[in-house]
Amino acid sequence: MFNNDYELKGKHATYIRFLSATTNRLDKTAKAAGIINTAVDIYAIAPLIGLAYNKKAAEDNSSNDTYSILASQIINHQADLDFAFRLVMLADNSTELSSDEKIDRAFRKDEQLEKLAENLELFHQYMRGGLEWLYEHFTDGATTKEDYLEKVYEVVSLYKEDFSIDD
């Protein structure tokens, strides 16, 4: 798990491209928010947001857009990705699983091979959902680089508020 390229498709590809700062680095003129350093970071973050908002999304093929996150990147971020994955496994309530079961699927990935693809797909679904949420919120009333950057705080504040963090 998390040692191969991962390809996003359709709008999600667009979204991730939009959110990644790499895009701006590669092309300064790109109309991208670039608010998260790399796509792989987003790849790790998005699922959490998706799960938090219970937002799942299937792979999109409304466009031919693709975005590949390279294996090297993914391997470099394994820890984060594992963390994210486990967390999703543990915190997800969309199944009838018990806590133990959740723990299993979170920590015993090796033994849960047949479940692994399923679990990974769940992860990706939430990831896509998270991407959508991010995209939606970062493009809400924001069109310029500055807007996007300012949106960071807004998004964080919103999230904070939605989940009563820090209270």
Binding site: N37, T38, I45, L48, F83, S99, I103, V156, D166
Partner: protein, 666 residues
């Protein structure tokens, strides 16, 4: 001049006061004869004249006093000698008395005091007027100058010398008044260094005219220079004015553009700020992304973590497996088929399952531990989420602020830029201002220099003018001198002409006179010529040639006598003609007739000559006073008898040489 009388007192051999000898003043009988034997005192009479008039003696002073009187003087007593002459000069009657006091100081010594000359003249009203003592000598000189006295107090003994003496020239000149003219002429002679004319000439400043011209040129130059300087001064003043106006303009511009400059400066400053802020913003942007990225996972995980922790807590697996038991250890146990407790696992399936189950709790790490660790991690992440928020806020705020700040600055920049005219280069205006200031300073210095030069030139002009004035004064002085010289020369020329003419005349007349006299005496057989030195040369007609002849003493005497007579005659003629030296009639010249006082005029002549001379004498002088020896008189008397006005006799008392008296005969 006519001599009226002479009175003697104790004068030489005339002991005591003698009755005055009254001389004939008659025009016809104009001869006075004084007879006497030799050494009786005839010569003394002449001497008396000379002593009285000039204090002139050819004997020792002591001998003035009569010897007998002198001897008879008692100790400490005094005696007086005097001679008093009464004469008529220029229609005035003069009384001239010379007195000398003698005192016997001891038995043989007689002290003579200075003689005292007293002169009086009779005024028109008959009153006697004294001539001041300091004027006496002058007065006598006016009447009968001493230099001439030799010729009119005629000493027969000395006569031989007369003609040969150099001062005949002087005498003649004196007589004719030529000496006066001669002196006057000499006084004005430009060729004589001591003359008035020469002295004037010496004072002429010869160079001044040349100097004057040079100075005039210098003055013109200096004035031209001054004009140029003044023009330049005005030019520079105008220039200064221009530059000052320019200064004001530039100042105004600078002032007006102070804002511009300010704005330009501000713009630059703002631009700098903007760059800085932009940089800051970029940094902030980077940080936002970085920090966001860095903390996002943990942050976004937060709500999930809570859920996850709940799950973990709910899980039964929260119990721990055998602590520090490793799966590998259990593998080992399984392999050895013997449990730690010693149970044989190959036979106990349940035990084996249990062990397997325990092992399942330990894939590499004990799950509980993992969970524990995970929970710790979660807890940590939760904490970090807090500071994340703060950081995000910070960054956001900073970003916001910077952006606002940037916005402000850019607005400001926009405003300022709008104010900037842009095409005004304030820096250049300031440069121009500085350049102008320098030019102004230079011009002011130049003005000072020009003013100083003007001052110096004005001073120079004043100096030159002063010098010119001085030279002009000299020139004026020169002018004056030249005029003086001209006058002096004119008078000189006139005197010279007069002199030459007169001298010629004198010579001619003298010659004529003398020849006349000679003629009368020698009836044409001889006559004289007079050379330049007024020396008479006897010429005898010999075979139609005139030759200089030697002269006998008698002839010599006659010659001399003729000369004297000629002079006297000339004087008389002049007097009567009222002739004067000058061409014009304005200057009256008094050449009086002089009396002839002759002492032994015949002493060297023989009787024929005596006779001849005697005949002439009365005709050549106004008044003749003859002192003759008895023996000579015999020869003269016949010729003179009719002319005798008075006659005296000098008698020796007791044949003494020291006591004579004068007795009147006729």
């Amino acid at each position: 001049m006519i001599i009226k009388s002479i009175a003697l007192n104790n004068f030489r051999q005339y002991k005591g006061a003698q009755p005055p000898i009254l001389f004939s003043t008659d025009k016809e009988k104009n001869v006075t004869v004084i007879l006497g034997v030799n050494t009786s005192g005839k010569t003394t009479l002449i001497q008396a004249f000379e002593w009285c008039l000039y204090e002139k003696v050819n004997f020792k002073t002591r001998d003035v006093l009569n010897i007998e009187v002198a001897r008879a003087m008692g100790l400490y007593t005094s005696q007086e000698v005097y001679v008093e002459i009464v004469l008529i000069h220029e229609d005035k009657e003069f009384t001239i008395r010379r007195t000398q006091k003698f005192t016997k100081s001891d038995a043989d010594k007689i002290k003579a005091e200075r003689s005292v000359l007293k002169i009086q003249y009779k005024e028109d009203n008959g009153e006697q007027q004294a001539v001041p003592s300091y004027e006496c000598e002058n007065t006598i000189n006016k009447i009968l100058p001493e230099a001439l006295s030799d010729y009119f107090f005629f000493d027969g003994e000395r006569i031989a010398d007369i003609n040969n003496r150099g001062d005949v020239v002087a005498a003649v000149r004196g007589l004719m008044g030529l000496d006066v003219i001669g002196e006057a002429k000499d006084r004005l002679d430009p060729h004589k260094a001591s003359s008035v004319t020469a002295k004037f000439s010496k004072e002429l400043d010869v160079g001044s005219d040349q100097k004057n011209n040079k100075l005039k040129n210098d003055l013109t130059d200096a004035q031209t220079r001054l004009d140029t300087l003044n023009i330049r001064k005005n030019e520079v003043k105008d220039e200064i004015e221009y530059y000052e106006r320019r200064k004001e303009e530039l100042s105004a511009q600078i002032l007006a553009n102070k804002d511009e400059k300010h704005n330009q400066d501000k713009k630059l400053s703002l631009e700098k700020d903007i760059i800085q802020i932009t940089k800051n913003i970029e940094n902030t942007e980077s940080r936002i992304v970085k920090d966001f990225t860095a903390g996002a996972i943990k942050f976004f995980a937060t709500p999930l973590i809570h859920r996850a922790m709940k799950v973990i807590d709910e899980a039964k697996y929260s119990g721990e497996g055998i602590p520090h038991m490793r799966s590998a250890a259990i593998d080992f146990i399984l392999e050895r088929k013997k449990c730690i407790c010693g149970c044989d696992l190959s036979k106990n399936e349940g035990a084996r399952e249990n062990i397997l189950f325990e092992q399942s709790l330990l894939p590499p790490q004990h799950l509980g531990t993992i969970l524990h660790t995970t929970k710790d991690t979660y807890k940590r992440y939760l904490k970090e989420a807090q500071s994340f928020c703060e950081t995000i806020l910070e960054n956001h705020t900073e970003y916001r602020n910077n952006r606002n700040y940037l916005g402000e600055k850019m607005d400001e920049l926009k405003n300022v830029s709008a104010k900037i005219q842009g095409n005004i280069d304030v820096a250049k205006i300031e440069q121009d201002y500085q350049k102008n200031e320098k030019t102004l300073k230079d011009k002011r210095e130049l003005l000072l220099k020009i003013s100083s030069d003007i001052g110096a030139t004005e001073k120079e002009i004043a100096e030159i003018e002063k010098t010119i004035e001085r030279l002009t004064i000299v020139s004026d002085k020169n002018e004056r001198l030249r005029k003086c010289i001209a006058y002096a020369k004119a008078v000189y020329e006139w005197l010279k002409a007069g002199y030459d003419k007169q001298e010629k005349e004198v010579k001619e007349r003298l010659l004529e006179s003398v020849n006349n006299i000679f003629e009368k005496m020698y009836h044409g057989k001889r006559h004289v010529t007079i050379n330049d030195r007024y020396q008479i040369v006897l010429m005898t007609l010999l075979d139609n040639d005139e030759v200089k002849t030697d002269e006998s003493k008698g002839l010599e005497a006659v010659k001399n006598f003729s000369f004297i007579s000629g002079l006297v005659d000339l004087a008389r003629q002049k007097a009567h003609k009222g002739n004067d030296v000058t061409e014009d009639e304005d200057i009256p010249v008094n050449t009086e007739p002089y009396p002839l006082v002759m002492d032994a005029p015949f002493s060297n002549a023989d009787e024929i000559h005596i006779n001849n001379i005697s005949r002439i004498i009365p005709e050549i002088a106004e008044q003749v006073i003859l002192m003759v020896m008895q023996k000579d008189w015999e020869y003269a008397r016949p010729a003179l008898e009719d002319k005798i006005g008075c006659s005296y006799f000098i008698e020796k008392i007791n044949n003494s040489d020291t006591n004579s008296v004068i007795r009147r005969i006729m």
